[in-house]
């Protein structure tokens, strides 16, 4: 069946109507580390889709970077500004308008707007949720934000998560440790934390700091020494812990992070009544059509929170959600958009084109020998 088209009756002297391509809005919310200014040239949008000079040079200079797009025709984008570009698919009869946003409030607004296709590409914050700012942003932008409506976390995580100790050292934000008085239940813990509930330890801030310091030295030797030069303690004046009671104990555990066995801190995260409220999932009425959470390991981190706890479900040709299975990368949005745009059939329903993009993107990730997939 075709598109039902109500036309004005022909009368004076001849009328009917105007038919245009369906307009679909994509809000690409670029968060920490995956925004254009933080990413290499082959991931920057829209350059990577239109194969502009930056992307082409990058592909030529760095043959190790994913090559799948390099060998494909560049798309004829209509670049309106540094934050907006369009693509007209004549086959689909759809004009895609892509808006690149960099702030938390615009991300929340997109989630609440009917028929918008929202993509978050950025740091997953170990499951706390999308986070906005730039790579060299001040420490608090890696947590609640220096401007709480603009930067920092939009929380959509389990109530409790575990983070490696070096994470706090690296970015230096205030961390809300979970007191050992709290009895942790697996159902409220991020799945990776839930695996460690049997070997949690209760330590004071001083004890934690000593272990963190030791971990940081060993980790710095292996990884990136510059990140640990200013290693701030959690306890004491000027420490990074939100509550600095020297007598209290807090939950920690040991686990491997990027090949290094190090202390992990159990912290408050959550999606309801969070420290970032109203910039959290609970205070957001999700009404968008598609939500792609393209941060790292978001299937484990956030899928249950979004789908089960929040109760945002697929509903006919709406309520689509896509997550990642492992450590992700900034070029994922580029692949996704490329395949979405190049679906070559009339496209009244959204599902066929999304399924196509889903399959083709995973095929590209496989061809690139990437570990992660979208799910």
């Amino acid at each position: 069946m075709g598109i039902i088209t109500f036309l004005q009756r022909a009368l004076l002297p001849h009328t009917g109507g105007t038919l245009g391509p369906e307009v679909r809005h994509i809000v690409l919310a670029q968060g920490l580390q995956f925004n254009n200014s933080d990413m290499p040239g082959f991931c920057q949008l829209p350059d990577a889709l239109s194969a502009g000079a930056t992307a082409r040079n990058y592909w030529k200079s760095y043959p190790w970077c994913p090559q799948t797009l390099y060998n494909r025709p560049a798309l004829a984008l209509d670049i309106k500004s540094s934050t907006q570009f369009e693509y007209l698919s004549t086959a689909q009869n759809v004009r895609y308008i892509v808006e690149r946003v960099l702030t938390k409030n615009r991300f929340k607004q997109a989630l609440e707007t009917p028929d918008v296709h929202v993509i978050y590409a950025g740091h997953a914050r170990y499951g706390r949720g999308p986070c906005f700012g730039t790579n060299n942003a001040p420490g608090e932008d890696w947590e609640n934000g220096t401007r709480p409506n603009v930067t920092g976390l939009f929380r959509m995580g389990f109530p409790y998560i575990g983070i490696p100790g070096h994470e706090v050292s690296e970015h230096e934000y205030t961390v809300d440790l979970v007191s050992a008085d709290v009895k942790l239940e697996a159902k409220y813990c991020e799945p990776q934390l839930a695996q460690h509930l049997s070997n949690l330890k209760a330590l004071t801030l001083d004890e934690i700091d000593k272990i963190r310091q030791a971990n940081a030295v060993s980790r710095a030797a292996v990884k990136a020494p510059h990140l640990f030069s200013g290693h701030k303690p959690l306890g004491g004046w000027g420490g990074l812990a939100k509550h600095k009671d020297p007598k209290k104990t807090y939950w920690i555990y040991n686990s491997y992070e990027s090949g290094v066995n190090e202390i992990h801190l159990v912290i408050h995260a959550g999606w309801q009544n969070t420290a970032s409220k109203p910039m959290d999932l609970d205070a957001t009425k999700i009404d968008c059509r598609v939500f792609c959470h393209f941060g790292c390991s978001t299937y484990v981190h956030n899928q249950r929170v979004v789908r089960k706890f929040k109760g945002w479900e697929k509903n006919g040709d709406a309520g689509f959600a896509y997550f990642t299975t492992d450590l992700s990368h900034g070029f994922l949005s580029v692949y996704w958009l490329y395949h979405l745009f190049t679906y070559d059939k009339p496209n009244q329903l959204w599902e066929p084109s999304l399924s196509y993009a889903f399959k083709k993107t995973n095929a590209d990730l496989s061809a690139d020998k990437e570990v992660f997939r979208i799910i």
């Binding site: 009368l11 002297p13 798309l75």
Partner: protein, 331 residues
């Protein structure tokens, strides 16, 4: 003349034009004339021609004629919109074209005989005119009884379900014309054209099927599809084959975009349903035109306002209605 024949009616010979199925009803019997000396009366003729306002013949229209001796003659005009009746008594004849309302062929309408029509979804003046046997919707629209309707609905192309439309009577007062002459009547008939503006951002090939006729053609990226259509056409199908994006080669798409055209279903832009239908047609999808200003419609309004350079509020206001009218309505 092809198809003509002589028929005998009483003691008279009438040579009539054209159709063998013309019917001649003899005049009612008269009282015998007083005994006057028999005098041969020269026979005469009368010719009728019916054309439209553009001068084109109205073929095969039915006519009724009452001759001076009260003989009723009915028949159809030929393909050139003409008939000629010969061998009749001189005098005046009463002419009627029963297929058309009196005003449409220049006759004076007979008072009374009107009725009311309550518009339903899909109705407009043209379809109502066709349903009631009018050739020109102006006949209905311009009726003094429809003054209030004209004030309420400025565009006769767009009615709203529930609108009350007065349908004037179609019968005419007698139109008398003398024999021995050809008489031309001009039928006022509205030409209806379907005009669809394809703004798909590329040139297209198309197939338009409407009222059993298929039109094919090609338009540029701002092109108009423009065809005359029957007054009573209510639906159609449009298949569009857009030219591919230039990055994908210079060919036309193999799989067409398909539109089911529901003519006359568009509500006035003053109604929320009319706003929703226009947004949908322009590509700002807001779902079924249900008359509710819900979140989806507000989002579509917001997107439309942004694209039209208006203040994007998602609220329905007069500048938005005007922009919708300008961008969507044609003609």
């Amino acid at each position: 003349m092809q198809g003509s024949a002589n028929v005998v009616v009483g003691d008279r010979h009438i040579k009539r034009a054209e159709k063998p199925n013309d019917i001649v009803e003899p005049a009612p019997p008269r009282a015998p004339p007083p005994s006057l000396p028999t005098q041969a009366v020269a026979k005469s003729f009368i010719a009728l021609e019916l054309i439209c306002t553009k001068g084109k013949p109205i073929a095969n229209a039915r006519y009724q004629m009452t001759l001076s001796d009260r003989t009723r003659l009915t028949g159809s005009l030929n393909a050139q919109g003409v008939t000629r009746v010969e061998g009749i008594d001189p005098g005046t004849c009463q002419i009627e074209f029963p297929d058309f309302a009196a005003e449409e062929w220049g006759a004076t309408p007979r008072p009374g005989g009107g009725q009311e029509h309550i518009a339903k979804r899909g109705d407009c003046l043209a379809s109502i005119a066709a349903d009631y046997g009018f050739a020109d919707w102006h006949t209905i629209w311009d009726s003094p009884h429809n003054t209030r309707l004209r004030q309420r609905r400025k565009d006769p192309a767009v009615l709203h379900p529930g609108d009350c439309v007065y349908i004037p009577g179609r019968e005419s007062e007698p139109v008398m014309r003398p024999t021995g002459q050809s008489h031309r009547f001009v039928l006022r008939r509205a030409e209806i054209r379907l005009c669809i503006r394809l703004k798909l951002g590329t040139s297209c090939r198309y197939i338009l099927s409407i009222a059993g006729t298929e039109h094919t053609g090609q338009v540029d990226d701002n092109g108009l599809i423009d065809f005359p259509i029957p007054l009573d056409a209510k639906e159609g199908k449009l298949l569009v084959y857009p030219k591919r994006s230039r990055d994908l080669g210079e060919a036309y798409e193999h799989e067409p975009l398909s539109y089911d055209l529901a003519l006359g279903h568009l509500d006035p832009v003053e109604e929320v349903t009319g706003v929703q239908a226009r947004l949908n047609n322009l590509g700002f999808r807001c779902g079924v035109a249900d008359g509710e200003l819900g979140p989806r419609t507000q989002a579509a309004l917001h997107a439309f306002q942004k694209s039209a350079g208006l203040r994007a509020t998602g609220e329905l206001n007069e500048p938005t209605r005007e922009a919708l009218r300008q961008q969507h309505d044609v003609g």
